[in-house]
Amino acid sequence: LTHQKPSILVYGYGNPGRQDDGAGIMLAEKLDEWIESRKLEDVRTDTNYQLNLEDAATVSNYDLVIFADASHEEIDDFRMEPLVASNRVEFTMHAVAPAFILHLCKEVFHYEPKAWLLHIKGYEWEFMAGMTEKAESNLLSALHYLQEFILQHMSGRISNGIN
């Protein structure tokens, strides 16, 4: 395989039909508008309900990957942390964790992009379109942070992907 690396991928995942579970998708969609307005050709987005095996091939094409997902952990509004590859087996293996994707990418394609995981705090998870107001607010905070992070990365101020 050849690795063409257009720099940055923001990969939002979750189910937008499950209220706040769609936060990662919404973030990617909003970021798209910003990318378009800024004409940032080296920044791409992707979305899906869940991560899966083929995403190892997708991330192998980028320098830096930011996975964005809703979180029901006890965090304030959002949290962004470096992602370390892991072969830890999840228990519902029709979907796989971002750390597992990184590990698979490393084993199969002999390449590991720098990667971060962006957690966006959510509150409600029922079958319903639209996020809660609090989660939307968290999403906007995360979006602004991510935009600044991307700009800094592109200007070389985050040379190794770690702030």
Partner: protein, 484 residues
Amino acid sequence: MGQKITIEPVTRVEGHGKVTIHLNNEGNVEQTRLHIVEFRGFERFVQGRPYWEMPVLVQRLCGICPVSHHLAAAKALDVIVGAGTGEGLTPTGEKMRRLMHYGQMFQSHSLHFFHLASPDLLFGIDSDPVKRNVIGVALQYKDLAVQGVMMRKYGQEVIKATAGKKIHGTGAVPGGINKHLTEEEREYLLHGDDYMNIDRMISWSQDALEFFKGYHKKNKAVIDSFAEFPSSYLSLVRKDGALDLYHGVLRAIDHEGRKILHDVDYQEYYKYIDEEVKSWSYMKFPYLKEIGKQNGWYSVGPLARMNTAEFIDTPLAQKEFEAFRQYSGGKPCHRPMHAHWARLIEILHSAEKIKQLLADPDLMEGQLVTRGAKQYEGVGLIEAPRGTLFHHYKIEENDMISMANLIVSTTNNNQPMNEAVKQVATRVMSGKKEITEGMMNAVEVAIRAYDPCLSCATHALGQMPLEFEMYDVDNKLIERKFKD
């Protein structure tokens, strides 16, 4: 001392399930149950929504097979908009949907084989769980891992080209499809580089079949006898008896291969099939009415389809089908582990179908949608990767959904999965003083042969560490283990 062993949830199965195994005073297995612990609410959720939203809305059911729900809903709505029951669409409409469906089948089956099943086959049921996963496969069998990843990716590219996007695809609409395939998309799927072309996919599908057959030859005892039990089988078949994953008539056969549902129009499925509710599971138990609740249950999925179909209309898959049928002496195959074999034949068939369709000019031009006189009720069936998927809707004068009934593939396989658990548990756990990791995984392997999607069947999310509980005869917890 009587014991109850609980395995919760089932690993490498989507959603949240729990297995309880009840041992008697002698330590032999007395009763087993596969419990589903989440409540389904999707059918109620869609009531009052406009019918045309359904093909997009139902994809929220599950992130694993959204395309199957998308297409089954669209087929039901074809009836409602007066476009007929699968045969009334324009050539472009039907062929684009078929291409989407074969892409879904290809990627879903590839996931199951390479990611979920191959670790068990390559490393053994009793092997270290740390090694028994796709990373373990990647470390020792790199080519196989690459193939798994790229076959998944190829299937997703087919879906993207036909459904429009991965999230909330909009390709199928009531009465047809909303886009043609572009020349660029066609060329990419036919002749893409970096392995991403259909000839490579066909070749890899054949390789995967050879891998399985080679494994089978060396491990006949495990593959042939693991959890074997007699079952009836149900699926769609084409009117001439061919395997058809997208459309056909409903056929069921008994354990001897005799037809017990005679190629009926699925618009009237409710005349032949009902669902039983049991107090200990939120997942219903479908059965054939004529035979009754006790013995009317049936299996669906790849193994069922190999048993009900008379032939396959693509040459490479037909050759494999003949070998498969010959192995069982022309009788129905009741070996759950042969579902892996059946699944691989369907991967090859899907790849051949994709190649046929990509050569068809109807994909690139022609009328997309057809309509007729409005109806107030419609049923859509499709052979999803895991088996027959039913969508049934009624609408009111104002076009809002007034009734929805979904029977998903995993629900159809509810009783067979319970039977498989019972077979394995009785064999590996009876008379044993200690329940080992290998024993519990054997039970899970039996369930995984059905590739169940419990999230879909219960319409719920759920993820938690594997929990193992043992109770004495007085229902007192005496041991708990976590696989975390």
